[in-house]
């Protein structure tokens, strides 16, 4: 069951936020309220899953046959940006409620290191299509978990007795560090 261990590995052990440092900006910026964090997580999951499939297919079926793999970076970023624009337009037209809750975060995902990072990692790790799909699901689910837990912790930090110079971002970062310790502790799982 390699796919299962790949999934667990990417979600928990090699969690993209806490061990590979993708998606730090949204982590610090969006995670003040748990509900917002969850909405961000949905949006990110949707985009990363689609993006990893599309970029994988484009790399192996368009760029490699034509011998222009040096255009991989430009291709990926343009595809991701177009996908985000398309998804946002689609949501605006079909479902205003969903757009109201999670559409706010969609433009943010274009410059999210996680999307481009997953696309590039899928290629450099030499995954098959199925493995790329699993990675495209595991990575954003891991991200959502972390950002949700982080948001709940931050809610309580707001009313906790934090020293003056640590209030706000510094204590949030140290919390993230402790969470990273926890994640590193289960490194032996896979």
């Amino acid at each position: 069951m390699e796919l299962v261990s790949l999934f667990i590995g990417l979600t928990f052990v090699n969690n993209v936020v806490l061990s590979k440092f993708y998606a730090i900006c949204p982590l610090l910026g969006v995670s003040k309220k748990p509900k917002n964090a969850l909405n961000m997580g949905y949006a990110v999951t949707f985009v990363i899953f689609l993006a990893s499939i599309i970029t994988y297919l484009l790399y192996y079926h368009v760029l490699t046959p034509l011998g222009i793999t040096y255009l991989d970076l430009i291709t990926f970023i343009l595809v991701i940006a177009s996908l985000v624009q398309f998804v946002e337009m689609f949501l605006k037209k079909t479902s205003p409620e969903i757009y109201k809750s999670m559409g706010v975060y969609l433009p943010l995902i274009t410059t999210n290191c996680a999307v481009l990072g997953v696309a590039l990692d899928n290629i450099s790790a030499g995954y098959t299509l199925i493995e790329a799909m699993v990675a495209g699901l595991a990575v954003p689910i891991g991200f959502t978990l972390v950002i949700y837990v982080f948001a709940t912790i931050r809610e309580r930090l707001e009313i906790a007795n934090v020293p003056e110079s640590f209030k706000g971002t510094p204590i949030a970062l140290i919390t993230a560090g402790i969470m990273a310790c926890a994640i590193a502790g289960i490194a032996g799982l896979v």
Binding site: P26, L28, V30, L66, L71, Y99, L108, T111
Partner: protein
């Protein structure tokens, strides 16, 4: 070989600019006008960043 590269680039850029313009001209559903709650990060590429709203107000005037 380079002709394919240039062609591919043109296709991609056309798709991107196309979707970007389509998205920009799609009106937001009602109730979503004031998304100023997103003051979390300083990512200026995000279309909900306050810098863009100030510019729209200036253009409207």
């Amino acid at each position: 070989m380079t002709i394919w590269a240039i062609l591919w680039l043109v296709i991609l850029i056309a798709i991107f600019i196309g979707t970007y313009l389509l998205n920009k001209h799609t009106p937001k559903p009602e109730g979503c006008e004031d998304m100023s709650e997103c003051v979390g990060c300083n990512n200026i590429a995000c279309s909900h960043h306050s810098a863009h709203h100030k510019e729209e107000v200036k253009n409207a005037d």
